[in-house]
């Protein structure tokens, strides 16, 4: 029996995902001018639906994780050079005075910046979707910089050996535009607009009933459009390979990066008590690190000493 065992179940992973879904919402904005033309944008992403599924084949499945682009809007503007008309003298002062008794009114045209603009709003309409299966692969890193250093010297110099956990992609399915959800979102937005415009006079509960009926229809369209992708993902998961040229390339890229960058690492031996004054830190060797996944939980075990 391993000296130390830790396990987390699917519920725990999905609680973490839910929390990330709540907190993860990076946004960016910017603008640029090109002569009289200007463009500004607001963009951001957040996680939509999707879950983690622990599988009996030892992999962790990321199941249809939606990435919603929200906000996503672009404003185009044009700045026409300012034109001032009028202001000329209609009745000049009689001699010997100089100046003007009556002037035409001055009108300034195109004084704003930009003078005309329009915003194209895609907030929450476009979605991408990522699915995939990964195994967690523990590897021991013999730090070449450690050389003949003792464990304590290597620890002090940051050259210790390490246990590293890599996410090893089994297959990856990336839909840059999740057609089903994107069409669904657009239909939903149109339906909401129509309901509010045409049934604005109706009581709220009546509009909710109509909205519910239309939502059911839209969800059915969404499911029908997603059928092809679901089959694709099911086959990918079944065979453990990325199907489709794009997914094959995405899988290869994911493979490359996953093999380069561990998701978690810690020193071996591991510090359990820091040094105090001249006293050395207490380092505990960690052996036989193992990660196992079944359909109910992920278990990490190790021996110490």
């Amino acid at each position: 029996m391993a000296h130390i065992t830790m396990a987390a179940n699917e519920r725990a992973f999905n609680k973490l995902v839910d929390r990330v879904r709540t907190l993860f919402h990076p946004t960016t904005s910017g603008s640029g001018s090109f002569g009289p033309f200007s463009v500004s944008y607001n963009a951001g992403v957040r996680l939509g639906s999707g879950s983690i599924d622990l599988q009996s084949n030892g992999t962790v499945r990321l199941d249809e994780m939606d990435i919603v682009y929200d906000p996503l809007n672009v404003t185009f503007g044009i700045d026409i050079p300012t034109v001032t008309i009028g202001g000329f003298c209609i009745i000049p002062k009689p001699w010997p005075w100089s100046g003007c008794l009556l002037r035409a009114p001055t009108i300034t045209l195109f004084g704003d910046n930009p003078d005309a603009s329009t915003t194209i709003n895609f907030n929450g309409l476009f979605q991408s979707e990522i699915s995939g299966a990964f195994s967690v692969d523990p590897r021991y890193f013999n730090n070449p910089l450690k050389g003949t250093l003792t464990d304590h010297d290597a620890h002090d110099l940051g050259r210790a050996n390490e246990w590293q956990l890599y996410l090893n992609p089994d297959w990856v399915d990336i839909d840059i535009i999740d057609v089903a959800d994107t069409v669904g979102n657009i239909l939903q937005a149109i339906a909401d607009g129509i309901i509010d415009a045409l049934l604005g006079w109706a009581p709220g509960w009546a509009r909710d009933i109509v909205r519910a009926i239309l939502s059911f229809t839209i969800d059915s369209i969404r499911a029908a459009l997603d059928l092809g992708d679901d089959i694709d993902e099911w086959l990918s998961n079944f065979f453990g390979i990325s199907l489709g040229l794009f997914d094959f390339v995405a899988g290869a890229v994911a493979d490359f990066f996953a093999s380069q960058y561990p998701i978690f690492q810690f020193e071996d031996p591991l510090e359990i008590l820091p040094g105090s004054g001249a006293l050395i830190p207490i380092l505990i060797p960690v052996r036989n690190l193992n990660v196992a996944v079944d359909d109910s939980e992920m278990t990490i075990s190790a021996d110490v000493g």
């Binding site: 391993a2 830790m6 396990a7 519920r11 609680k15 050395i280 380092l283 278990t299 000493g305």
Partner: protein
């Protein structure tokens, strides 16, 4: 059955892991387990119980093997000298239910009860006893008492006998042949226990029993055990309680890891069983 059937996260440590960690701590920080006066600090091989293994890094970096402690004072002695002595706690081991790491003495019932764990340790100590020659050499005679009584005249005040305990500055000359050692085997049986305190569940450690093996006479053994039991139950264990509902490992504003509440499915948390100590945890979002 899955480890996380009734919780989100599960963690356990096997007694072998615990004992390996104790071995490593003892090897890398031996001064936590060995105490002595200057002669023992300078020459740890004189300890009554030498460390089983000292990590080479401790030697290489000149870390102390023995923690320096003051000389043992001699009550009434007015000189600057004290006795050299040493004390070590060795062979520290833990055994989680069921009993299989070490046998308990008969007084403790030989086998652990469910959910109990035992700690075994050997306490070694010894005094460097000065021989007769040294005692003769270092004895300091105060002014002798002069019981001259003259009738009708007040007697001259005499210096009272010294009862002072003076802090020694030096040890008596050290003779390694005269280090008198003894070793005691100590067993303590404990159990995690949940109890209600002011209406809230509190997790504490309850002393089940303790035993010091074979001190004679029996009355002395019982007296020392009584004193240790009282110290543990009244002085130490009451301070090791923790409000169960307040235990939380909070990771920023992200998530909290809290113990799984006690229920029919999780009757003990932590649970001591199957040679391991296990904790059941839930994730809680703010």
């Amino acid at each position: 059955m899955a480890l996380t059937n009734f919780c989100d996260v599960f963690a356990s440590v096997h007694e072998n892991g615990f004992n390996r960690i104790i071995e490593q701590v003892a090897a890398q920080r031996p001064s936590l387990f060995h105490y002595g006066t200057s002669s023992f600090v300078d020459n740890p091989s004189l300890l009554c119980c030498k460390p089983a293994w000292v990590h080479p890094e401790v030697i290489k970096r000149g870390n102390p093997i023995v923690t320096r402690i003051p000389y043992l004072p001699i009550p009434g002695y007015v000189g600057n000298y004290g006795l050299e002595f040493n004390f070590s706690l060795t062979k520290l081991q833990i055994d989680f239910y069921p009993t299989n790491k070490f046998s308990l003495p008969a007084e403790l019932g030989t086998n652990l009860n469910k959910q109990c764990f035992a700690i075994k340790a050997a306490a070694c100590a010894g005094i460097a006893c000065p021989d007769q020659k040294i005692l003769d050499q270092f004895i300091i005679y105060p002014e002798p008492y002069r019981p001259t009584i003259v009738i009708g005249k007040k007697r001259k005040e005499q210096q009272p006998a010294s009862t002072e305990i003076k802090t020694p500055q030096r040890g008596f000359p050290f003779n390694r042949e005269n280090v008198l050692c003894f070793s005691l085997e100590l067993y303590v049986v404990l159990k995690f226990e949940m109890e209600m305190w002011n209406g809230e569940p509190v997790l504490g450690l309850k002393l089940q029993n303790l035993e010091i093996v074979d001190i004679k006479p029996e009355g002395l053994e019982n007296s020392i055990e009584c004193y240790m039991r009282s110290t543990l139950r009244l002085g130490i264990l009451p301070q090791l309680r923790v409000a169960f509902n307040s235990i939380a490992l909070t990771i920023g504003d992200f998530i909290s890891i809290v113990p799984t509440p006690i229920s029919a499915n999780v009757p003990f948390n932590p649970s001591v069983d199957n040679d391991t100590i296990s904790v059941f945890l839930n994730l809680q979002t703010p």
